[in-house]
Amino acid sequence: MAGLSFDLIALQLFAGLALGAIYVLFAIGLSLIFGMLTVVNFAHGAFYMVGAYVGLYLISIGGNFWICLLAVPILIGLFGLAVERVLIRPLYGRGIDYPLLLTFGLSYVMVECVRIAFGKTGYPFDTPEVLQGAVNIGVGYFPLYRLFVIGATAVVLLALWLFLEKTSFGLIIRAGARDPQIVRVLGVDVSRVWLIVFGIGTAIAGLAGLLAAPLQGVIPEMGGTILAEAFVVTVVGGMGSIGGAVLAGLLVGVVVSMTSLFAPEMAKVSIFALMAIVLIVRPQGFFGRAGLMS
């Protein structure tokens, strides 16, 4: 193969960060829900997939991509609220495997429902016109839409950070995660807090699905692959740590990208190799709290 130029390596690094942004967007919802609720949401990939399908449906009835950017997270968030209220809430305090099994089953139900409603075959999802094409980023051409996804991820992260760190409701959420009992004693309705956290987490999953749709089209099984990758990201970053998810997501993206450059056959394995190494050196992940799972 031809030699490696600086530009190629820089472009490859950038491609890795862009890929990482998609992992981050998907994984923060997962991490948020786990960190606050200690619910391992196996249906996260299904919410992501439903987000893409809702976007597809809204566009088919005359909506556009920009409306979807707002409508999809709201609709999927509402759906998430319903799921938490009806299915997850009765399982709090019963051990971590109860909600895990429930959401695992739920993901199958959701995928099957979408198969029934939309069919087993995929659909194309056009990139919005203004975001089509590739632009020169100095070291080579890069798809404009992927740059947009990086921007969207940054906006979501910033909004989430402001919400959790700068609002009084965010303070209650953080306190509820640390010690729900004390918060309850102080007169706060913790179950309402958890409800909203679950809604936000699923809303972000829906948004991630919508943003991924123009990259790969939509298909009922699209949530499956990314779920495995997102679990790696949350485990490497530390279960429940949003900052950890961001760092780990970008790192996983770059590791995949760099392995792709030198040994493309190993790219998929490299993610899990990274996880194994991190778990050996630091079992709780980058910023994880030890003992959260027990």
Binding site: M1, A2, L11, Q12, K120, T121, G133, Y145, L215, E265
Partner: protein, 417 residues
């Protein structure tokens, strides 16, 4: 009177048979045996295909067209009144799953024949089961290995094209036209490997320069980390050898990266269902091969008849390439059953070997030594403009006529003759 009975539906036939008077009449009738056969279990054709997973779109069309072949057989009276039935199973694109399902089809469902599969690797797993149990298997997806002596058995038939034929036809067209510097992006399993081997082989005639082959695992959803490298190689031709959803996503993302501006993308196979699922932009301008395109109906009466029958059965929908293979795979077996006048394996094998047929795409026949269907290969280009209907997606650039010289020789495959 008796011929009327055969034509009637099964319920009236059954009623008739239970009446003593008819029984007495039949006892002396020369058609008695036929009628008794009509009461036998239907001719069962096992049909394992990957309905779920990245090749789902193609597999669904295989089933549709397979059902059509069965319906036509039954409408024409079946085998002296004995009807056929398609027993569909989802192999999930997994060799283990496919072997289990096939075993189940053979042992539990007692199928007479197996037709199906949609993967170079999975069909070998099915073939292992069928050849051990002496059941005819007509494979309807691409593979070079299945015809090789090591995997072949006299029960193995291959209705689909194989990678050698496909890459040969596409290579001969593309290397003469678009340039000699070629880079490859390849699905890392049998199908991809066999395609690249075929391209490199035909490439020798054109002195192509192989700039590199980047391999990706089956079921890859993001090619963004592989594309900059391929672009940096500056090839004239980027040859993408993958299939189904992998092909849809790879072409979509290659388009996003602006690869088509300076590089001609070719694919050994352009799947009709994938082109529809991915939309016109992703596939626009890509050149590839296929075994069948409905648009050749002006050329072949058999194509026209197949298209019309398919349209009629499926609300005006047109068949796809892999659909046509499902049809061809089932129809050849059923025609051989008719020809042999029996479902006995050895007789049907002989009938298949003797078949010279034109059921949907012009003349074909199974080569004696390896049971590969000798047939035409179409070289097509995907279009995004001037589409007359939703199935009007390709333009046929050239046709490689059926000829054994485009196949690997029987000796090369390890056969004696």
């Amino acid at each position: 009177m008796t011929s009327k009975v055969i034509k009637a539906g099964s319920i009236s036939r059954r009623r008739l048979l239970t009446t003593a008077s008819a029984g007495a009449a039949l006892a002396v009738s020369p058609f008695r045996i036929n009628l008794l056969q009509a009461e036998e279990a239907p001719i069962k054709i096992g049909f394992p295909v990957p309905l779920t997973g990245p090749y789902g779109a193609e597999a669904q069309d295989q089933v549709r067209a397979g059902q059509l072949a069965v319906a036509q057989f039954n409408d024409a009276g079946g085998l002296n009144g004995r009807k056929a039935e398609l027993v569909v199973r989802d192999d999930k694109l997994n060799p283990g799953e496919a072997a289990t399902r096939t075993l189940e089809l053979v042992e539990k469902e007692k199928v007479n024949f197996v037709v199906g599969s949609l993967s170079a690797a999975v069909q070998l797993a099915i073939n292992n089961v069928t050849k051990e149990r002496g059941v005819i298997f007509n494979s309807i997806s691409q593979s070079d290995a299945i015809n090789e002596a090591a995997d072949f058995s006299k029960y193995t038939f291959h209705e689909a094209l194989n990678p050698h034929m496909t890459s040969g036809a596409v290579g001969r067209y593309a290397f003469a036209k678009f340039g000699k510097k070629v880079a490859f992006l390849t699905a890392d399993y049998a199908y991809g490997h066999e395609m690249v081997r075929g391209f490199l082989e035909v490439g020798k005639e054109f002195n192509i320069e192989n700039l590199g082959d980047i391999r990706h695992p089956l079921g890859t959803t993001d090619f963004s980390t592989l594309l900059p490298r391929l672009q940096a190689l500056k090839p004239d031709i980027l040859c993408i050898s993958n299939f189904g959803r992998d092909q849809q996503i790879a072409l979509k993302q290659a388009t996003d990266f602006g690869i088509k501006k300076s590089i001609q993308i070719i694919a050994p196979l352009l799947s009709h269902a994938s082109r529809v699922a991915a939309g016109p932009q992703a596939f626009d301008g890509v050149v590839g091969g296929c075994s069948f395109y409905w648009g050749i109906e002006d050329k072949f009466a058999s194509t026209k008849a197949f298209n019309d029958a398919f349209r009629k059965m499926y609300d005006g929908k047109l068949p796809t390439d892999y659909g046509a293979l499902g049809y061809g795979g089932v129809r050849t077996v059923l025609e051989a059953v008719k020809g042999a006048g029996s479902v006995e394996t050895d007789k049907v094998v002989a009938a298949l070997e003797a078949l010279k047929y034109d059921y949907y795409k012009g003349p074909q026949y199974y080569r004696k030594c390896d049971h590969q269907s000798v047939q035409s290969v179409l070289v097509i280009k995907s279009k995004s403009k001037d589409m007359k209907n939703e199935s009007d997606v390709f333009e046929v650039l050239s046709t490689e006529e059926p000829d054994e010289k485009y196949l690997r020789s029987c000796e090369a495959l390890g056969h004696k003759s």
